[in-house]
Amino acid sequence: MNWVGLNTLIKREVGRFFAVYRQTVLPGLITTALYIAIFGFTLEQRISEIQGVPYTMFILPGLIMMNTLTNATSNTASSMLQMKLLQQLPDLLTAPLSGLEIALAYIIGGAVRGMVNGILVLLLGVFLIGMPVNNLFGTLMFIFLVSWAFSSMGLLLGQLAESWDQLAMMQNFFLTPLSFLGGIFYSIKMLPDWAQTLSYINPIYYMINGIRYTVLGVSDSEVEISILMAIVLTIGFTLASILLMQSGKKIKN
């Protein structure tokens, strides 16, 4: 194992998104504050509580999850595609770094961004609306698992994509709709039966409800299933992204 190489690439990946924090860290906070102000305070007039929790507080765990997973995904996806398009990738592929080391460094870089964003939104909730955190360890564990899983998925997307357009399509047509339909702003019990059934095949639904349970103690899904799903996604995406990187597909001729 080339530990110095791995560590260097992690530092580069983390340094890269911190160098443009106005683009990678602040937007999540601002958007969340806007969601709280617009959705929360206005809709709270009509939906005062869901499952015994004030509406603004109810949506916050979902917002934590959305920020975590979109940031983790876009970090690895855009970094990998950028490296490909800007001719930086040969520097890595000709160095004594294995596919495993390159994949791990990228995943860790994306996971750090996911966690930073998730934790900042969590803190915003705590300080802005006095949100209690039922189980801090469980909450941080969820943020970590989801960051890692979606960072790995982002790496898959970044390696397979050939243009920014393709990447945007994957994010706009799959990730964002699945996040919104995963129950950020509602309990699926408010949906008709067929829509509830559809939600069960959306993995993000389990992530949102998992963290909602660890933060607020309420959830549409069984917390054990949410944890299991987070672990399965983490292992599945990690293995797939490492294997794809080792294969050299789309990055070597």
């Binding site: 080339n2 110095v4 190489g5 560590n7 260097t8 690439l9 530092k11 580069r12 340094g15 890269r16 160098a19 443009v20 800007l86 001719q87 930086q88 040969p90 520097d91 890595l92 592929l93 000709t94 160095a95 004594p96 770094l97 294995s98 050299g248 070597k252 001729n253």
Partner: protein
């Protein structure tokens, strides 16, 4: 003879129907300055990219100091530094930081890389730009940065893909001097180039490649002697006293008082010709010698110029 620094045997590669490499064999000794000479699309970059792990080979073997470049990739890649033809772009970090990252990929911690990074930035005239981003550098500076990046882990083998493409004459001369200096310090250098002058000046041996095949390999001087033709023109006051028998071993034309000889090696033949003419009592007014170059060799082998 020791283990070659680079040993390529029977290398083939196809892109669909296109046969990019068709059984390439190259052996480069440790400490040798070797040139891979050929036009665009000849297979130079593909050969280098397979050697360095950027492209999958179809068949054949590539070894660095006797070790396979796939099986022992950590060893072989640590021995090689590459200055690619294409510039990479980075928006985020200053160039000094990029050099530390590059050293890190090769397992060198910043504190251990510091001295070499400083000396490379100084030698390549980039010291004042250490805090600049790549986009703020001129084309020539970017080219020098590519070379600094290739050398930051102090590799034994330096591979340069068209290192002086698009740089001005002054910088080209400076880079040549630097490469000669590196070579004199024992680095093995593999250079691909379009520039005949560059190959002739720098390389001890060259391989001429076209359509994925090595057509000829050897020292530039030997190749030009073997395959090139050079001309010597001697202008005489008059031809009175010339005994044609004395020149019967030469291919020459006679236009009034102007004799034009076609020879393989003008350096060797010129003194002999002068001696013959002087011994015949002829007065030489002017001598011109047009040396044969690798361009002639390339023309002879492929029927076309190196630049198309």
């Amino acid at each position: 003879m020791g283990t070659p620094a680079i040993d390529i045997k029977g290398l083939t590669k196809s892109y669909g129907e296109l046969k990019a490499l068709n059984g390439v064999n190259i052996s480069i000794k440790k400490g040798e300055f070797f040139g891979l000479l050929g036009p665009n699309g000849a297979g130079k970059t593909t050969t280098i990219n397979i050697l360095t792990g950027l492209v999958f080979k179809e068949s054949g073997s590539t070894k660095v100091f006797g070790k396979d470049t796939i099986k022992d990739f950590r060893y072989t890649r640590s021995k090689i530094g590459i200055a690619a033809q294409e510039f990479s772009v980075d928006w985020f970090f200053p160039i000094e930081k990029l050099l530390f990252f590059q050293a890190g990929y090769y397992g060198i911690k910043p504190k251990d890389a510091k001295a070499l990074v400083d000396s490379l930035l100084n030698r390549l005239g980039l010291s004042s730009k250490r805090n600049s981003r790549l986009r703020q550098l001129s084309g020539g500076m970017k080219r020098r940065f590519q070379i600094a990046k290739a050398l930051v882990h102090d590799p034994e083998i330096l591979i340069l893909d068209e290192p002086t493409a698009g740089v001005d004459v002054e910088l080209r001369r400076d880079l040549w001097k630097y490469l000669q200096d590196l070579h004199s310090r024992g680095k093995t250098i593999l250079l691909t180039t379009h520039y005949i002058e560059e190959a002739e000046l720098l390389c001890e041996n060259v391989a001429i490649i076209d359509n994925g095949k090595i057509l000829k390999m050897g020292a530039p001087k030997e190749l030009t002697r073997e395959l090139g033709e050079a001309g010597i023109t001697v202008v005489l006051e008059n031809l009175n006293g010339l005994n044609k028998k004395d020149l019967e071993n030469y291919k020459y034309t006679n236009d009034k008082n102007r004799l034009h000889f076609s020879v393989k090696d003008p350096d060797e033949e010129l003194p002999k010709i002068i001696r013959i003419l002087s011994n015949s009592g002829l007065h030489i007014q002017k001598i011109e010698s047009n040396k044969s170059s690798l361009e002639d060799v390339f023309l002879n082998l492929t029927g076309k110029g190196i630049n198309g």
